[in-house]
Each structure stands twice: as structure tokens, then as C-alpha cells.
């Protein structure tokens, strides 16, 4: 599918710039050009498709669906899936959270959404697709959704309402009528230019991170010795997964920058499961997100939330390493 891109990279580096294919620099530059272009193309398409999905299923409609349908326990799953298909913006997580609980959706179901939303987002999916292929991407997306489902359900076992901020409790007391969502007034074709513009905006927004991430990855490919991580991290020691996750939680890297680096880790011997767990902890949980959530919940609730998600990520890391 991307053969033509490889030809282009070969031509650009080896023929036009006359950097030899046998030199370290030549292969590194070729790799860099090919990967960057491939990722940007995939990114645009994934974001574009997500834009179309979102035009048809705006968040208000998803909320109404969760609210009105009897789902017999499947509401956690649906909430998690909705979290995956809505575009994630960290600054929207608090309004979303309030909007959900205000609309009468149980707190635990809301958490399912909140877990999956940053975990499975369009940028992470596109990066995974570009760097690890379809199979790993599917595993990542499906496990992210399962994780949100189980995480939300587990959180539901705690008595969480008293741990919300006072003003949120007040909102909960007088749950508002859920305003019907009025369908979009524009037709699909009218929206297309806007969707593609939105996709470009996102690609432009992460461009720098992609370039830096791939550059670091390309450099590491050349300088980190083969099997380096195998010796230290890949030998199947039980503590590698928890360590990778615990290191990743406070880190705040966006998916665009972190995936190319993870790819090198995997190429140099880190098991894919450990790498996926690391990735999930990096994008799914972060200090900035905790700071935002602090406005709506107590520290104790944030700690429970992060704690449970962390444990779930660690367990799934072990599972991947067993299965893959």
C-alpha cells in the first residue's frame, strides 16, 4: 500500500540528495522521510474518518442513547466504545464529565467513557497503525475499550458520589432535564470541507511531535545496540510491566511523539505487551488530566480512579505478554 512512498523516499534521499544507501545517514534519512510521510497520511485519513463518524454521532446523541436505552449492564461497554469514537481533547474532559452526570448517567458509566476517551483516540490509533500494523492496532483499540468497560464497572463498586466536589454534588441534586439534541442542520456534503479542515488542523497540531518522535526513534535505531532492552527489560522479569506503567503514569507525552519511540523499544527486544501497557499509561493517565479533574472530584477519588486504571493496565500488559 505504501510502496510508492518507499520509492519516493529512495529517490529523494539516494538520488536527489545523493546520500548513499549503504551509509548510516542514508538509511536513517530514508527511514525518517518514509515514516513521517506514512504517518501523516494515515493520521489525516483516520482523523477524517473519525470526523465523519462524529458528524453522525455527536456526543449529545450518544449521551441521550446511554440515558434512555435500557442496556442491562452493557452500558459500561457502550460508554467505553463512545469514549473511543469521540475525539479526545483534554480540555473537554471536565465539561463532558459534568454533562454526563448532569444528564443522569451513573458516575461509574461516566468513568468508562473517561478512561477510554484519551486511551483510544484518533492520533494514537493512526500512529499505531503506521508503526505496528493493523493487528497490533486492533489489539490496542479493543483492549482499550475492554479496559474502560472493566475499569468503570470496578469503580462502580465503590461509593464514589460523596467524593465529588461540592458544586458538582449540587448539580447532581437537581439533575437537569436532558435537552433533546437537535440534529445537525447541515447536510453531509456541506460538512465535508469542514471535516477535512478539522483533520488538517489536527495533523498540523501534532506534526511537530510526529517529526520529533520519529527523529528520536530513527536516531535510537542506529545507536541503541540490538537486544539492549532484551537484556534489561525483555527477559520476562515479572517487574518490567509494573515498572513501565508506573514510570509512564506521571509522564505526559502525546501519542504522536511517544509511539515512534516505543516502536524502537519493541524492535530492540521489549515485549509488545509491555510496550502497549507503557503507551496506555502515558496517554491514558497524566498529571495534567488529574489537575483538570481536581475541579470536579476530590483527590481521594482521583487516586482511586488512577489506581484502578493503573492496576487494569498492568494486568492487561501481563495478558498481552502471555498471549502475543
Amino acid at each position: 500500500m505504501f510502496d510508492w512512498l518507499q520509492h519516493f523516499a529512495d529517490w529523494l534521499i539516494y538520488t536527489l540528495f545523493k546520500v548513499g544507501a549503504e551509509t548510516h545517514l542514508g538509511t536513517a534519512l530514508n527511514f525518517f522521510v518514509y515514516d513521517t510521510l506514512k504517518i501523516l497520511i494515515l493520521l489525516f485519513f483516520v482523523v477524517f474518518i473519525m470526523g465523519i463518524v462524529n458528524a453522525y454521532f455527536p456526543i449529545e446523541r450518544l449521551k441521550d442513547y446511554l440515558n434512555k436505552k435500557k442496556l442491562y449492564g452493557l452500558e459500561y461497554f457502550f460508554s467505553s466504545v463512545f469514549g473511543a469514537i469521540t475525539p479526545f481533547c483534554s480540555c473537554s474532559s471536565v465539561p463532558l464529565f459534568i454533562g454526563f452526570v448532569q444528564g443522569g448517567i451513573p458516575l461509574a458509566v461516566t468513568f468508562s467513557f473517561l478512561i477510554t476517551s484519551p486511551l483510544v483516540n484518533e492520533v494514537a490509533v493512526a500512529m499505531f497503525l503506521g508503526m505496528f500494523g493493523v493487528k497490533a492496532t486492533l489489539i490496542y483499540a479493543i483492549s482499550g475499550i475492554v479496559l474502560g468497560t472493566i475499569g468503570g464497572w470496578l469503580l462502580g463498586k465503590f461509593n464514589l458520589e460523596p467524593l465529588l466536589s461540592d458544586w458538582v454534588k449540587k448539580i447532581l441534586e437537581n439533575k437537569m432535564q436532558h435537552g433533546e439534541y437537535e440534529g445537525a442542520k447541515q447536510t453531509f456534503y456541506q460538512r465535508l470541507p469542514e471535516i477535512s479542515r478539522g483533520a488538517w488542523d489536527i495533523v498540523k497540531g501534532v506534526l511537530l511531535y510526529v517529526v520529533i518522535g520519529i527523529a528520536i526513534g530513527a536516531a535510537m535505531h542506529g545507536y541503541v545496540p540490538e537486544n539492549f532492552f532484551n537484556t534489561y527489560l525483555g527477559g520476562g522479569q515479572w517487574w518490567t510491566v509494573p515498572l513501565a506503567v508506573l514510570v509512564a503514569v506521571p509522564m505526559y507525552a502525546n501519542a504522536a511523539g511517544i509511539v515512534p519511540i516505543i516502536q524502537v523499544f519493541v524492535a530492540k527486544g521489549v515485549p509488545l505487551g509491555t510496550a502497549i501497557a507503557f503507551m496506555m499509561a502515558t496517554v491514558g493517565l497524566s498529571i495534567p488530566e488529574a489537575t483538570l479533574l481536581k475541579k470536579v472530584m476530590s483527590l481521594k477519588l482521583i487516586a482511586i480512579f488512577f489506581g484502578i486504571v493503573t492496576v487494569c493496565i498492568i494486568i492487561s500488559g501481563y495478558l498481552f505478554n502471555l498471549i502475543l
Binding site: 448532569q102 448539580i171 437537569m176
Partner: protein, 78 residues
């Protein structure tokens, strides 16, 4: 009559680009309007929006969760 434009958003990049678009439209077309940025989450929630940034013109929510084009804003203001 002067229009009151409010931009709801907690200060993310998208909210800033929305503010930029609106400001441009107003100055390019000499529209009589005031722009107010609402960044406090409690204030934002009073408008019952779930996705930011949101554009509120004379207390009516016109756009939420995305950055509009200049033409769109101009149409909304006329």
C-alpha cells in the same frame, strides 16, 4: 445594537483559535460586538455544553466543540 459574544473554553489551543477567528471576523467587517472569554468551568457548565470551545452569541449557543470558519462566524453574526 451591539452583540455580546462569549467564547466558552478552559483555555485549550482550540479555544484560542476560535477566539482568533472571531476577533478577525469582527475587525475585518467592522461588526459592533464585544468578546468575552469565559474560562471558569462552573460558568461554562451553566450553558450546558459538553464540548468546548463553544460560541455564544447574545446568550444563544451557536457552535460547540469545534473551531468554525470565518464565513460561518460572519453568517452567524449577521
Amino acid at each position: 445594537m451591539s452583540k455580546v459574544i462569549k467564547i466558552l473554553g478552559t483555555g485549550c489551543p482550540k479555544c484560542q483559535s476560535m477566539t482568533g477567528v472571531v476577533q478577525k471576523v469582527i475587525s475585518e467587517n467592522n461588526i459592533d460586538a464585544t468578546i468575552e472569554k469565559v474560562e471558569d468551568i462552573m460558568e461554562i457548565m451553566k450553558y450546558n455544553v459538553m464540548t468546548t470551545p463553544a460560541l455564544v452569541i447574545d446568550d444563544v449557543i451557536t457552535i460547540k466543540g469545534r473551531v468554525p470558519s470565518k464565513d460561518e462566524v460572519l453568517a452567524l453574526l449577521n
